[in-house]
Amino acid sequence: MSDVADRVKKIVVEHLGVDEAKVTEEASFIDDLGADSLDTVELVMAFEEEFGCEIPDDAAEKIQTVKDAIDFIQKSAA
């Protein structure tokens, strides 16, 4: 479980170039981590590749925080 969280955080840190300490589960990609709309699309693409899952557009729209991403990926893996 924490494995998913760690991998998600790692992608976020790498992609957005932000300090690891800022990537809390509550952090919003856009409001807290400085992502723009294109970054969020790229993050979803990166999650899809890392976890070998498909994140449909309507689900992707709802992924706004680090926790949203972790939850979605854990649910789709279950």
């Binding site: 723009d36 294109l38 790229e42 693409m45």
Partner: protein, 245 residues
């Protein structure tokens, strides 16, 4: 200047005169070129002529699935798509009052929609690499209009709007999106004109002649190059001055 060594370029409509000239010019500057088109024979001949760094990837761009698959094929065969030249196009001319739905649909599908699909599929790789060049071949007719070409003019004007919108979306990722709008270019299509028709066309062109496919290719080369990194959302008119836009 304009060195494309290490880059891979996909040129659609490479079996035509302008597409062929574009492929040759990019190849001459060091790019690996993937040649797409519907007619396999001229593609194979061009690839054989170019020798190394040329792969053939035929596709029917009026087929959505085949269009999507083309990018995958090129990524497998040539190692990626750094430069995408949306050149494939066709005409189904006729006055609007007699234009059939299928004449409209075919032209929009191949000239505009296929470019959208190819660009979408190629963008993923470009975003990852943080480098990419998209060049769409528009037409002077897309800016000025031309009777008998409502469908063609709409598709070519559409490409210019598409170019501007996408340029704004991806500029921050070092991906530039531009268009080249040729005027009258001497191709097998214009060879069919008689002397009188040619003279009439030339009289409307300040340069006094039809353009050559290489005139268009040189503009494409520039926009595909590293040197054009700060040029995006632009339409470069290559028309001998016949429309100064």
């Amino acid at each position: 200047m304009f060195d494309l060594t290490g880059k891979t370029a996909l040129v659609t409509g490479a079996s035509g005169a302008i597409g062929g000239a574009i492929a040759r010019m990019l190849h001459a500057r060091g790019a690996t070129v993937a040649l797409s088109g519907t007619r396999v024979e001229p593609l194979t001949a061009l690839a054989a002529d170019l020798g190394e760094r040329a792969v053939v990837a035929p596709a029917n761009l009026s087929d959505a699935a085949a269009t999507e698959a083309l990018i995958k094929t090129v990524e497998e065969k040539a190692g990626g798509v750094d430069i995408l030249i949306n050149n494939a196009g066709l005409t189904r001319d006729g006055l609007l009052m007699r234009m059939k739905d299928e004449d409209w649909d075919t032209v929009l599908e191949v000239n505009l929609t296929a470019g959208f699909r190819l660009t979408r599929a190629a963008m993923r790789g470009m975003m990852k690499k943080r480098w990419g060049r998209i060049v769409g071949i528009s037409s002077v007719v897309g800016a000025t209009g031309n009777p008998g070409q409502a469908n063609y003019a709409a598709s070519k004007a559409g490409m210019i709007g598409f170019t501007k919108a996408l340029a704004a979306e991806v500029a921050s990722r070092n991906v530039t999106v531009n268009a080249v709008a040729p005027g009258f270019i001497a191709t097998p299509m214009t060879d069919a004109l008689n002397e009188e028709q040619r003279a009439a066309i030339s009289s409307r062109i300040p340069a006094g002649r039809l353009g050559a496919p290489e005139d268009v290719a040189a503009a494409v080369l520039y926009l595909a190059s590293e040197e054009a990194a700060y040029v995006t959302g632009h339409t470069l008119h290559v028309n001998g001055g016949m429309a100064m836009l």
